[in-house]
């Protein structure tokens, strides 16, 4: 695998030596790298959808696709062929240009994220020095695609769905980015590759479980999954923003949703679970792929089970949960973590230079941060329990009043 990367790196000089224009040679080697990276999400989506269907089926006590190919693996290939040969209906009232661009933009926004995801110590599309900001920025292009689709369809259900998407995606971006601040704070880098290297000693999910949890929940909302799938609430909006789409354009929306769900989990693994880090990865960089995919599956599959299990929340509940719970909590979280980290630095509990990747050297810092997290989690749970109890008592008191003095009815 390392030879393969070396081929790409030495391709440009090779071509120049054999008489190709240097600029063209550079371009060809870059193009080859890009194609290698984009193969992953596009080829993977067939598998992602298959896994998702199988798991949803098992949760609902069904078998799932099992006719096309071994274990129904090729069901999605058949579905893609079906979508390609379907008639494509553009409603006469739609805004044709924006209507046709929307599915392309939706797919583009999720594929672009893969440019900065590190697969192994040497395999990464491009290790941008602002990788974290890059994927946050690219991720929000998706919001634009949903709005374009909903607005251009000229259908009220689609428009309502689009409004909800924008409100939800935009709101949940705040706790997501606030939760991202904490790993950036500790690692002191925005580059994805350096983010993984900062976790060689200790995974950030151990150091800051609260940030990880906030990031995971906001990610579920960002991908429109699980309890936060209000954007396509079938019972209220029929299908939401994509209701007027048919054929391959609908297929692109679905594909981008499935790729996005996997991508969000891959990002979680890179930022909080050490990405490709694992034993033996220094000698055999290709092992990084195995660890990276294994860890991603480890949290991807629970998120699918979650999706098949939990009911959908109401829109006011979703907004309250974000603005009145997640946002204040993540602000407090950033402050507490910044304070504890600075205190640990002053007391020189941070790993000494040269020992950053050592497990033992990271233990004091981890202990300090983890203790802070546990105190915060206990505090949050106490506040939540007290609020819940107060609200329940108020509701019970109201009910008791109603029973004692029944409201006058029309008949009397």
């Amino acid at each position: 695998m390392e030879q393969c990367i070396n081929v790409i790196e030495t391709l440009a000089p090779c071509l120049v030596a054999s008489g190709t224009d240097p600029g063209l040679a550079q371009f060809i080697s870059i193009l080859l790298g890009v194609l290698l990276v984009t193969i992953f999400p596009l080829g993977g989506v067939i598998i992602f959808i298959w896994i998702e269907r199988k798991i949803a089926a098992r949760v609902q006590d069904r078998v799932g696709p099992n006719r096309v190919g071994p274990y129904g693996l090729f069901q999605n290939v058949a579905d893609a062929l079906k979508l390609i040969t379907k008639e494509d209906i553009t409603p006469a009232a739609a805004d044709r240009l924006i209507y046709n661009f929307a599915p392309i933009v939706a797919t583009l926004s999720v594929i672009m994220i893969w440019a900065v995801i590190p697969f192994s110590p040497v395999h990464i599309g491009v290790d941008l020095s602002i990788g974290v900001l890059y994927f946050v920025a690219i991720g929000s292009i998706g919001t634009l695609a949903f709005m374009m689709a909903g607005w251009a369809s000229n259908n009220k259900y689609a428009l309502l769905g689009a409004f909800r998407v924008v409100a939800q995606l935009v709101s949940y971006e705040i706790p997501m980015v606030l939760a991202l601040l904490v790993p950036v704070l500790i690692a002191g880098t925005l580059s994805m590759q350096e983010m993984v290297q900062a976790q060689l000693g200790m995974w950030f999910v151990v150091m800051m479980p609260l940030s990880a949890l906030i990031f995971y929940i906001s990610n579920l909302a960002e991908t429109g999954r699980a309890p936060f799938d209000l954007l396509e609430a079938e019972s209220e909006l029929v299908a939401g923003y994509n209701i007027e789409y048919s054929g391959m354009k609908f297929g692109l929306f679905m594909a981008s949703e499935f790729i996005h769900a996997f991508t969000a989990n891959a990002l979680f693994v890179v930022i909080f679970m050490g990405g490709w880090a694992g034993p033996g990865v220094e000698q055999f960089p290709a092992l990084g792929f195995v660890y990276f995919l294994g860890k991603t599956m480890l949290i991807y599959i629970p998120s699918l089970i979650l999706r098949a299990t939990v009911p959908r929340v109401r829109i006011d509940q979703m907004m309250n949960f974000n603005w009145k719970f997640l946002v204040p909590l993540s602000i407090i979280n950033v402050l507490v973590m910044a304070f504890l980290f600075k205190v640990a630095q002053v007391l020189s509990l941070t790993p000494p230079p040269g020992l950053e990747t050592d497990f033992i050297a990271n233990l004091p810092l981890t202990a300090v941060l983890l203790a802070g997290n546990i105190v915060m989690i206990i505090g949050v749970l106490t506040v939540l329990r007290n609020t819940g109890r107060r609200e329940r008592l108020e509701a019970e008191a109201r009910r008791a009043d109603d029973v004692r003095a029944p409201a006058p009815t029309m008949g009397r």
Partner: protein
């Protein structure tokens, strides 16, 4: 890779990311049947007929959330340089960050008190 190369990679990636979703659309354009008629092209085909204009002014609450989001998003961008350099700074940096985040929290409390966060 140097800086120019990195962004050249992103540029090529952007071009390829445009081509990849267009490709199945083109294939579909070649193979799909075309039998449009007025009923089929109606908005919300074979469903309830749409009454009135779709592109209407809508619930103001979405707009207020948008405004609150804008405040936070701009402030968060300013927090990233602070977080990036944090482990090389002294204790004063924590005070500065504390002040800035307090302003952020203040904006949230103000919006909350003004009932901008109530879904009505």
């Amino acid at each position: 890779m140097n800086l120019i190369n990195e962004w050249a990679f992103i540029g090529v990636f952007l071009a390829v990311a445009w081509v990849l979703p267009v490709l199945p659309l083109v294939v579909s354009w070649v193979f799909r049947p075309r039998k449009p008629n007025a009923l089929k092209l109606a908005t919300y085909e074979s469903g309830v007929e749409t009454v009135g204009d779709t592109w209407v002014q809508f619930k103001v609450q979405y707009y207020i959330y948008g405004l609150v989001f804008l405040i936070f998003d701009v402030e968060l961008i300013f927090l990233f340089p602070w977080a990036l350099a944090y482990n090389q700074l002294d204790f004063f940096a924590f005070g500065a960050g504390l002040l800035f985040i307090f302003l952020l929290a203040d904006a949230l409390i103000y919006a909350w008190r003004k009932n901008a966060l109530e879904w009505t």
